[in-house]
């Protein structure tokens, strides 16, 4: 049985529907990310799960118990907000021990637990300080320790890293994930940063306009996006317009017919997706399928690789491709150069035309 089940949860604010019949289930110990653009309803769903802003309709079951109508204080979760919401007038130790005190535990036991938690988040010596005296990253860890202090069954994180600078964020990603693995606590993290979701999550829930577009592992989300929206939102993607020619055949742009597996009816308008890194350049022979010549229009140096803008005349399309530095040297790539590329049929994904943008 899944640890958390969300069944057709709908949330309305007046006339506006922020969540529309959202269903998902999460296994015990899983790390799940809610990913989507701003305003898609991620926070709304998280707050419904916490009971902070209960859903209008639908059921939420946690650990076999229907918690849909329960107030937050009767549910079992710890939460970290984007603002951290640390109590500024209490020391770090008092913040972490805040939830323990009201459980009438002996003072010595609370103290031991607080030191244990502070050690766990890597702040063993900061207990006496006040939150204002800590850096952003340290405050974030205190908030995490406070949320974990009462050993909740479910940990909820709302954009916990978004207020930090890139370097600290990258380090904390690993730390949070490591901590979660060690404690085995079921965790939901809200983020609009796809890289964060891809690197941290066991499974990602991609949301758009109050609905779930896809639920899957990072590999599935990245490699087999279920909708044009997911394809566009996660990673970079080439979108080429085309038309279905027949079973296993499509025409790109103004005429080039290529191989591609699909389930559409012949004649329908489609959008064909391909990741820039999947554009094939090496090992192209006379027999390579889906092959055509392109001219390099632009090159953008991005450190370990270059992103090239390629123009083809037949079919008349523009697409981007990622070239490793190695490949650039081997093939002597430069702006204006013409070369043959191929679109590997097994990497192409087809969606109905003008579906999303």
């Amino acid at each position: 049985m899944p640890y958390l089940e969300v069944d057709r949860v709908t949330k309305r604010f007046g006339m506006f529907t922020a969540l529309e019949a959202v269903s998902l289930s999460i296994e015990r110990g899983e790390f799940v990310c809610f990913l989507g653009p701003s305003g898609c309803g991620k926070t709304t769903l998280l707050r419904a799960i916490a009971g902070l802003d209960p859903q209008t309709s639908g059921t939420i079951r946690q650990d076999g118990r229907d918690v849909s109508a329960l107030p937050p204080s009767e549910r079992d979760f710890g939460i970290v907000f984007q603002s951290y919401a640390l109590f500024p007038n209490l020391s770090v130790a008092d913040n972490v021990g805040y939830g323990l005190k009201s459980r009438r535990k002996p003072a010595a036991e609370i103290k031991a637990r607080v030191s244990e938690l502070l050690a766990l988040v890597g702040l063993p010596t900061q207990g006496e300080k006040y939150p204002a005296q800590l850096s952003g990253g340290q405050q974030q860890r205190v908030a995490l320790a406070r949320a974990l202090a009462t050993s909740p069954g479910l940990l909820l994180l709302d954009e916990p890293l978004s207020a930090l600078d890139a370097r600290v964020r990258a380090r904390l990603r690993g730390e949070i994930r490591g901590l979660q693995r060690r404690l085995g606590v079921t965790t939901i993290m809200v983020t609009h940063d796809q890289e964060e979701a891809l690197t941290m999550a066991d499974r990602i829930v991609v949301m758009n306009h109050g609905r779930i577009d896809q639920i899957g592992t990072p590999e599935e989300i990245y490699g087999k996006p279920a909708s044009a929206f997911v394809a566009d939102f996660v990673g970079s993607m080439n979108f080429l317009t085309g038309r279905v020619a027949g079973p296993g055949r499509i025409t790109l742009g103004d005429g080039l017919a290529i191989d591609c597996s699909h389930t559409m009816t012949p004649g329908s308008e489609i959008r064909v997706c391909l990741r820039p890194e999947d554009v094939q350049v090496r090992g192209i022979t006379e027999n390579t399928a889906n092959r055509f010549p392109v001219t390099i229009a632009e090159l953008e140096f991005l450190g370990s690789f270059c992103r090239a803008t390629l123009r083809a005349s037949a079919p008349e399309v523009t697409l981007t491709a990622d070239f490793s530095i190695n490949l650039m040297r081997d093939l002597n790539v430069g702006v204006g150069k013409t070369l043959d590329i191929a679109l590997p049929a097994d990497r192409l994904r087809v969606f109905a035309g003008e579906a999303a943008g």
């Binding site: 979760f77 939460i79 209490l90 204002a132």
Partner: protein, 563 residues
Amino acid sequence: MALAEATLVKPKASSDDIVMRAGIAVVLILLALFVAAPLWTLLSKSFHNADDKWVGLDNYIRYVSTPALMQSLWNSLWISLLTTAIVVPLAFVYAYALTRAMLPGKALFQAVALIPILAPSLLPAMSMIYLFGNQGMLKQLLGGGEIYGAGGIVASQVFYCFPHVLMILVTALSMADQRLYEAAEALGASRWRIFWTVTLPGARYGLISAIFVCFTLVLTDFGIAKVIGGQFNVLATDVYKQVIGQQNFEMGAVVGLILLAPAVLSFFADRYAQKRQVSLLSARAVPYAPKRQRGRDALLFVFCLVIAGLILVIIGIAGWASLIKRWPYNLSLTLANYDFENFDPTGWGPLWTSLKMAALAAAIGAIAIFTAAWLLEKSRGFHLVRNLVQFLATLPMAVPGLVLGLGYIFFFNSPSNPLNFLYGTLAILVINTMAHFYTVAHVTAVTALKQLDAEFEAVSASLKVPLPVTFVRVTVPICLPAILDIFVYLFANAMTTVSAVIFLYAAETKLASIAVISMDESGFNAAAAAMAMCIVFVSLATRLLHLLLERTVLAKLQRWRKR
């Protein structure tokens, strides 16, 4: 889990929700009893006769057809207008000097200008009498004129209203965006043009607000007209005469409601103005930094010097006169006027009563009003009741003290009211004072609460800590400065207020501000001045203590704010 419709969710109230709703219900009952009910009684009384029979508009018709009463209405209106026309420009220039010019001693100028707030409104009137009254030192300056009457009222009102108006205008003028001025200068606008096209429009909502506040202050003030009005009748003194003098409650109610009308109007105008004023300043605005302009600055400095000097003279005269043997014939100094037993059997009693009343109102008020604001801000659901409480919390702002006091006698004096036992006690003075000054205290509390992280309560609930515990351990300690501000505000106003409590005191609960009036009435002017000075000293001491507390104890308690 098949195709059945998803079930609607009816959130269950938590124990916190229940506690908070109960708290809000209590607040609602208290505000209904001590704000709404008295006002309602006042309104209803104006439509009934002495035998409590419904008479429709009869009382109003009688009012309109009594020439003496209509004369007071007219008197009140033109006096209020004239005072406003004098005070607002003066205060505007003073505020302009404090915010937009380079003057030495700005802080001192600002402090001096605010001194009149520490005193009851009657103090400037008493000083005017010492200067220009029958035994006035400068009586000759008036030629054959009389200070008792319209002239004296307006002159005293100017002093009384000046600091109130000044505070509004200083706030309005300090909210300026440097970038606007730089743009205007870059466009080659002259200084005069910049003043008319940038400065004045920028402060226009502050000006509207100041005009209405000043008008209402004059219209509803009781003390000045009582002391220096002579035969010149105004609305505020009419109410007193009708109710206390002639026991004509119905007519008193009618006059009270007439006083309420402009106050309510000005309340809404002020709300409108304040909303607009706030939205003027965007988050990215650059604060205005005044530049030196020798000619203008010198002129403004002289202006401020004159105004501040006059304020000091007016306060000083009352202080001096309280130490004089026999004004103006024997100017040798004495403390005899502070021997209050010789002038009034209650002696020093009223001052202690005032201190006790002010301390109780401030302590109970600060705690209760802050807690009520917290309940209102942080509770979930219960929208109707919360909106009602919100409305009742802002209502007192629109009600002049005189009108509230009138409502209180009508409501609590009625023998059929089970709360009748409150009448004539210190408790009713305390309650009335808290109700009278509720709105500003409430707004201060709400402002402080809004600055807290909105998720404290969510965190607390997730950790299963009851909200009242978080209120005591987190919310109150963080908001301590605001709570102290509320305490001082209530205390200072309780010390100086006259208009509401004049109807409510009994022999044993006479307050210092009322003792000033009664000793003045009995002709003991010097003793009255002495008592007024005692109030000034207490208010001053309170402010200084507040400053000291802020710098020491509070700073220590709030050391977690340091980085």
